[in-house]
Amino acid sequence: MTIPRSPRRPRAGRATTAAAGLLATLMVAAGCSAGGAQSQAGGEPQEGGDLVFLIDSLGPTWIPNNSSISSFQGHIWGHLTDKLVYVDENGAVSPWVAESWDQNEDATQFTLHLKDGVTFSDGTPVDAEAVVANLDIWARGDVERGINPIGLFPKTYVGSEALDDLTVQVDFDAPTLGFIPTLGYHGSILIAPETLASSAEEQADLANDIGSGPFVVESWTEGDEVVLKKREDYDWAPAALDHDGPAYLDTLTYKVVAEPSVRTSAVQSGQAQVAYNPSPQELEFYGEQGFTVAAPRYLGFVNGYAINTQVAPFDDVRVRQALQVGIDRDEILSTVYTDDWLPAESFIQSNVPGATDHSDALVHDADAAAALLDEAGWVEGSDGVRTKDGQRLAFTLHPNPYLATSQAVDELVAQQLAELGFDVDIQAYDVITYGERVSFANPSIPTYEVTRSFIDAGTVAGVLTDADNGENWFNVGQSDPTLTGLAQDVATATTTEERDPALDELQGYVLDQAYFVPLTQIAQRLYLQSPDVQGVTYNGVAYANYYTAWLAE
């Protein structure tokens, strides 16, 4: 196996930025500044070139259904496979392998019309039969073979059938407005039926997983690297990407480098073109040196706290509302993050279609928060902590281990709330312990930190209450008829025109009741990129797409 070598040498010049700390010193010692001389929107796309992408991990397994939800493997799947529809960073849905689609009036039956001539890399056609095989495995998995369903696939799925070679009919047992957008989710990848029918052990070998994407697997080593090469006969990219035919780049290499400072320094010295997940603190330094920093938002929930309303002190709406206005979100943005992060406007990201601006409800107002706590009967003691009937106004935050900056944000929030008379404790767990001990509606968990992507706002309805096996984020159950009614309106809407007003009302109500306390919009996938890399596109779940990218020399 050959590893594509980058011929570039460290650039001349000297970093003059004085930076504190060992890692910063090391970076300065590297003495190679890009100087910001490169033009950002540069010239004609160039053919050829090898792009090296340094990543923290390659995730658990390559069984398509079991792995495509991983933040790491999603990068590779996005290049090996196509989807039925394309969803851009604003949530707009456009044709891809499905050229067009119809739906019945109550959104329970959809007909997909497929593009002709699309083939998997083994030569077999991406036809209606292949799409039906994929839909079935996404919806149901195959537990007999240890293959999961796709978690976000609508649970209302009844089945699908091939009407002819290029037409698929899909049926649901309830209105499922989110079906078409969910086809653009990073889990909904089209895989050759022969692969889908093979055993879990066979599918776990990435070389056996046949897709129809612009790249194919050249070689891979478990836990170490994946080398992709372009498919010369690729000719069915989504029109939204504004590029036809094969990719510009010859190869794409995803190489695991677990140490973040080594990843970023390797990009700085020209040994690689992209470093995934640099720490936010490093971004300004590299930005000043002319490197491109991309922090695309994904469609989904913002970063924030879902509040357990059955647990004291949050069983009192006034205490929840005090939390809602007592947190200074601007200070979080300016202290922990950079300009690439945006303030939350609702509890769903502002690029989700149907999201509306409720920033008025999130304005920091310490006086109002204090008044709410006074009204609720919490009296400030000599140590600055409020008490009521001998109880202290105390609760514990559990930083989200899936988000590197979560602990820093929680520490800041704890300080801010301490000034209001809260006593906030922070208990951090690793991913495994967190998964075991922290969950929604657990009586010992007063707040649950949410980070979750989705494609369609209809997903929201399924988390607010426990109706229809909902996740019941706020432990309200169905005791709040307003919440249950609004969630029901969103879930059963048959058109977005009908759904949007209900969704707007729902967002306002959830924020007003302070069931959810948003912090910031989330940018969970960060990219530090050499200025040579041009034309990168980001889809609705913030994955970088190098099909459209080229290397400028």
């Binding site: 397994t61 976000l152 695991v256 677990a258 140490e259 040994q271 998964g435």
Partner: protein, 332 residues
């Protein structure tokens, strides 16, 4: 006549000793296997539900339970253990719960990289240790004395710091190797330096102490009185007896080479046993961890067994009936 009887008696004694040590070795490997199983089973969760519980996945508890049942992870502990153990004794290492790939293949992928790194690191450590020992005995006192501080310095500098500095200088500044080509000759060499430096410290300490001890012996005084130079005395008389205990130290550092390789492999982006362990610990991938622990136990036991079996041959003064291990005392 009596010398023949003695010789065959000695051979029988050596045979009994070898068999006893071999039986101990097998027991150690099996116990390590069972112990790993029990320790991991005490921890919360299992690899399958840990992955499925990632909030991005949106799986219900029922769905998670169905998949967990497929992997037999809902079975009682003793059922899982007896199944794993009966597979292990016939050489079947099972399938990774995380990646669904055969464990034997995963090990085969990473073992060569780690063996190259550990071998090169041991060579670096030996060269460094002998160079320091030579300097200490042969350089003028003003230079030799600070040199004696090197081993403790080597031990106190963290391995990852040495690694990061080496990468910064030799890869990012001088371009001698590429971090994305972690298995290249130069990349392996510098990783071996990072890993070998702390290991060399212990070897150097033992070597220096033994050289000091041997230099005080009568034969050394006699040799000096015959007018032998420092360097000649060192190579011809002191080095051999002082090097013997190094065999024991090297056997003991094998564990350190395997353990230290995790950090070095992570920093240098190498795909070795250490990285496999890290990935498997993070997901509690029991079949992989058990196989790696068994492998480590085998390596450790074999290396020590070889050292124990070789020692009586090198040094006839070692008594074979002494138990536990009849190693020559290391005068460090």
């Amino acid at each position: 006549m009596s010398s023949t009887t003695n010789r065959s008696a000695a051979r029988r004694a050596y045979g009994r000793y070898a068999v006893r040590r071999l039986a101990q070795a097998v027991a150690v490997v099996l116990l390590a296997y069972v112990f790993t199983f029990l320790v991991i089973s005490v921890l919360p969760g299992d690899p399958v539900s840990n992955i499925l519980r990632d909030p991005q996945n949106n799986f219900s508890e029922q769905e998670i339970a169905r998949i967990v049942a497929y992997y037999g992870l809902d079975q009682p502990l003793w059922v899982q253990l007896s199944e794993a153990l009966s597979r292990f004794v016939v050489g079947d290492l099972g399938v990774s719960l995380r990646s669904n790939l055969p464990v034997s293949g995963l090990l085969a992928d990473v073992l060569p990289s780690t063996l190259r790194l550990a071998g090169a690191a041991l060579a670096v450590a030996l060269v460094l240790a002998f160079a320091i020992a030579f300097g200490v005995r042969n350089l003028p006192a003003a230079l030799a004395r600070p040199l004696r501080a090197f081993p403790s310095l080597f031990l106190s500098v963290p391995n990852f710091l040495i690694g990061l500095l080496l990468i910064q200088w030799f890869s990012f500044q001088l371009g001698l190797f590429l971090v994305i080509d972690a298995e290249s000759l130069w990349a392996t060499f510098f990783a071996a330096v990072a890993l070998g430096i702390p290991v060399s410290a212990q070897i150097a300490e033992v070597l220096i102490a033994n050289l000091d001890h041997e230099a005080r012996q009568e034969y050394a005084a006699v040799a000096r009185s015959r007018g032998l130079g420092r360097a000649r005395l060192f190579t011809a008389h002191l080095l051999k007896p002082s090097s013997l205990p190094v065999v024991t130290v090297v056997a003991l550092t094998v564990g350190e080479l395997l353990g230290g390789s995790l950090i070095t492999e992570t920093i240098f982006g190498r795909n070795g046993v250490g990285n496999l362990v890290q990935r498997s610990v993070a997901t509690q991938d029991l079949p992989v961890l058990q196989a790696v622990v068994a492998l480590a136990a085998v390596v450790f036991v074999v290396v020590n067994l070889v050292a124990d079996l070789v020692y009586p041959l090198l040094d006839p003064r070692v008594r074979l009936d002494a138990s536990p291990a009849p190693k020559k005392e290391v005068s460090a």
